[in-house]
């Protein structure tokens, strides 16, 4: 019975990781540096951190082996344009010239609570598509020892490393709940809540990029 429970957990984890990975992209800026991002909208909108996109000369590609892909993105790098970027909030929206990309399912960061299971995907130290797990430590604008006065964060027990920036934080159902942004300690990761990203996109790009 016990073993069965663990197998069921593993099945769920397999599917969650596979889904999230299919929307996970590699972002190179200025020919160097590596960051992560997620396909927000199948029409070619990628969401990441502003600091990942800051150098310009952006290339977006899916991690090797992430397919199956019929859109030609796999392995090949497409140049990307910055549609909107905010240094303060550390959010950037990029566009690539591609259609029918698999967008990540969007979650709701308002409903997140301490203790919930979350996973971060990214490319820590350049390892493509690596997965980390943790739980939500806390959510909101009043977490102690977080940067930015009154800024909203998700704190999670995650080891975020260089290359995680801009990548997805997903809940137990694989829905995007945050954008992994920085660490607040060796084992505490901070992510921008997805609700903040939704608001940013609505303000900057209108309602046209709502999920399909």
């Amino acid at each position: 019975m016990m073993r069965h429970e663990i197998q069921l957990l593993n099945q769920d984890l397999d599917q969650l990781v596979e889904n999230a990975k299919s929307s996970l992209v590699v972002i190179r800026s200025g020919g160097k540096g590596i960051g992560a991002g997620s396909v927000w909208h199948g029409g070619g909108l990628i969401i990441t951190n502003a600091h990942v996109a800051a150098q310009g000369n952006l290339e977006v590609s899916l991690p090797p082996g992430a397919g199956p892909w019929e859109t030609g993105l796999c392995g090949t790098a497409l140049s990307a344009q910055v549609l909107a970027s905010d240094k303060e909030q550390d959010i950037a929206a990029l566009s690539v010239d591609a259609q029918e990309l698999p967008a990540i399912e969007l979650g709701d960061s308002k409903g997140l609570a301490a203790g919930q299971w979350v996973m971060a995907l990214g490319h820590p130290w350049g390892v493509h598509g690596a997965v980390s797990r943790g739980v939500v430590i806390g959510v909101g604008p009043d977490l102690p020892e977080t940067p930015g006065n009154g800024r909203e964060w998700i704190a999670a027990s995650l080891r975020l490393r260089p290359g995680h920036s801009g990548g997805p934080l997903v809940d137990a159902q694989g829905r995007l709940v945050g954008i992994n942004t920085m660490l607040a300690g060796p084992d505490v990761g901070l992510a921008i809540p997805v609700d903040v990203v939704k608001k940013f996109l609505k303000e900057r790009l209108g309602s046209g990029w709502l999920p399909e």
Binding site: A113, G138, A155, S157, D187
Partner: protein, 301 residues
């Protein structure tokens, strides 16, 4: 998906939310506040001694958002426990887990409230064992080591099991880079002693010592390989008054072997205060009996 992972995730969050009602913020230092556990309905809170940098002007942040002034009842640096009292009659203390149900490898959560809301991290019970003595000499009834992340401000909060029952008060202040949970019997004992006396009473003889190897013949005779060589004797202290000298090697106290410092510390409990006890001592190659009357240990921070 099978809903197993979402079920687990929901259960974790529910446990945090339920048991968070018994976790308070403890404001007793300059930097980030720490956490505490509601111990009893009449306003007693237990926390980690090392997070209290002051004895006065301590405040408790309650789950309902209110902040109350707290009085320090006492602290025990040897177990890293401190007891606070606030004026409240309607606290709801957390339930404690049955220790028999615990196993290494079980999922566990640690809860904290360094800010306004309850926070949590998840991990497993890493190691379980019998009683142990902290580096500072405190007696702990059970060895419970947690394998989980402890962000700043988590010390003093509870380590809880899957049902949200308290496994122990968690602290990173006892053993470097290890999260230890102090089990119920230890917390009960320290709380009772601090409520009664304001400190943990221990007896004291006033010597400095280090373990020393015994001659081979004596090792066979006594069945122990080491004793405690006295390297300093406090002037006019209990040991000096009883006639212990620099260079003596303690080998037994009241018939119980003294092999290393832990043996001596374990024996010097409150019951021996102001009561003559007999040491067996190796001096000049001969065994002697020396009577010493311990005093109560001066309080320490």
């Amino acid at each position: 998906m099978t809903n197993t992972l979402t079920g687990l995730s929901d259960a974790l969050a529910e446990t945090v939310s339920n048991s968070g009602a018994g976790v308070v913020r403890v404001e007793g230092r300059e930097r980030l506040p720490a956490s505490g556990i509601i111990w009893s309905t009449d306003g007693i809170v237990v926390t980690a001694h090392h997070t209290l940098e002051r004895d006065e002007n301590i405040a408790i942040g309650l789950p309902d958002g209110n902040t109350l002034q707290a009085k320090l009842v006492g602290r025990d640096p040897t177990t890293d426990l401190a007891v606070l009292r606030v004026e409240s009659q309607n606290f709801s203390p957390l339930q404690w887990a049955n220790p028999e149900s615990l196993k290494a490898g079980h999922l566990a959560l640690t809860l904290a409230r360094p800010g306004k809301n309850v926070q949590a991290t998840m991990g497993i019970i890493g190691a379980l064992g019998g009683n142990w003595r902290t580096p500072a000499g405190g007696a702990v009834d059970r060895y419970v080591q947690a394998d989980l992340v402890m962000p700043p401000g988590f010390s003093g909060g509870p380590l809880v099991d899957a049902e949200g029952k308290v496994i122990g008060l968690i602290t990173s202040g006892l053993v470097r880079s290890v999260s230890m949970a102090l089990p119920l019997p230890t917390v009960e004992r320290v709380v009772a002693a601090l409520l009664a006396h304001g400190s943990i009473l221990r007896s004291y003889i006033g010597v400095g010592s280090q373990p020393a190897r015994l001659p081979e013949a004596l090792t066979e005779q006594l069945g122990q390989a080491t004793g405690l060589l006295i390297v300093s004797v406090e002037q006019d202290g209990p040991a000096a008054r009883g006639g212990l000298f620099l260079g003596d090697t303690l080998v037994a106290l009241e018939g119980k072997p003294v092999r290393h410092l832990d043996d001596l510390l374990a024996s010097l409990d409150a019951e021996k205060i102001d009561r003559a006890v007999s040491f067996k001592v190796l001096r000049g190659g001969q065994l002697h009996d020396v009577s010493v009357t311990p005093t109560s240990r001066p309080p320490e921070r």
